[in-house]
């Protein structure tokens, strides 16, 4: 499901400050170039791109019972990202870059594609954490590219 930014959250505010993203080569014929191209495999449960107010911008996430939980999780992510920012700032750690959460049945990685958005990558526990970080970096690049394409 795709939720476009609303009038309350102007797209200009979300894409503001993102670095110029070089154009990607066109997708091979017959392939749909999604924002998460290349991230689908490896026990993936989903990828979410969320704005600072917990509104889902793009992506899907399958919960424990196989139902779509993207919007619900997006709402929680805004609070978690705010808390991560506050924690890093007040402890003098500088700007936060990522948060890894190892859960009982899956691992979550939060990252910041831009200062106004949060990206969540969810994978099965079997995926090594180092690989999860690499995938999140790739997803952030894709998210920045997608956000850049949404500029009016």
């Amino acid at each position: 499901m795709v939720v476009e930014p609303t009038a309350e959250v102007p797209l200009e505010a979300i894409v503001e400050g993102i670095e110029a993203v070089p154009a990607e080569p066109p997708a091979p014929a017959g392939q749909d170039r999604t924002p998460w191209a290349g991230l689908e495999g490896g026990g993936g449960r989903g990828v979410l791109l969320v704005d600072r107010r917990g509104l889902l911008l793009r992506g899907e996430l399958t919960g424990a019972e196989g139902r779509e939980v993207g919007e619900e999780v997006a709402a929680y992510l805004a609070g978690a990202a705010h808390e991560a920012e506050r924690t890093a700032r007040l402890l003098g750690l500088g700007a936060w870059r990522s948060v890894l959460v190892e859960g009982g049945t899956g691992n979550l990685l939060l990252a910041r594609p831009t200062s106004e958005t949060v990206l969540l990558l969810v994978r099965d526990r079997e995926m090594p954490q180092g690989r999860l970080t690499v995938l999140a970096d790739r997803a952030c690049r894709s998210a920045r590219h997608w956000l850049g394409e949404q500029r009016p």
Binding site: A88, L91, L93, R97, L120
Partner: protein, 116 residues
């Protein structure tokens, strides 16, 4: 094996790049025990780590990934790591940006199992 609080925290702080380690009451963010380098504010670390852990637990459960067993906040100038222990206690460590997180994770898990 059960460790004293002091021994448990020492196992973590002897890892290179660790600035401090603490045991924190997860419910209210109060300090249970601490071993910190000068300049690390124990009360702030405890309160913020507990609050962050609560938020992340909600997100993790909503995502269908169960209860968190390890949290790692990576920031530009440092790292915060938390591992839930039994009885609602959090084992928390603050480290430099380039601390060996893999080693820290292993040691903190051992401490979480041993401090009861």
């Amino acid at each position: 094996m059960t460790l004293s609080f002091t021994d448990a925290l020492e196992r973590i702080t002897r890892i290179r790049g660790v600035r401090g380690a603490m045991l924190v009451a997860g419910d209210d963010g109060l300090v249970v025990a601490e071993s910190l380098m000068e300049g690390v504010r124990g009360n702030a670390v405890a309160a913020l780590a507990a609050s962050l852990a609560k938020r992340l637990r909600k997100a993790c459960e909503a995502a269908g990934s169960g209860i968190p067993s390890f949290l790692h906040l990576q920031a530009e100038a440092g790292t915060l790591v938390a591992v839930p222990a039994p009885d609602g206690v959090l084992v928390v460590a603050v480290g430099d940006r380039d601390v060996n997180v893999g080693l820290l994770r292993l040691e903190m898990r051992r401490v979480a199992e041993a401090v009861v």
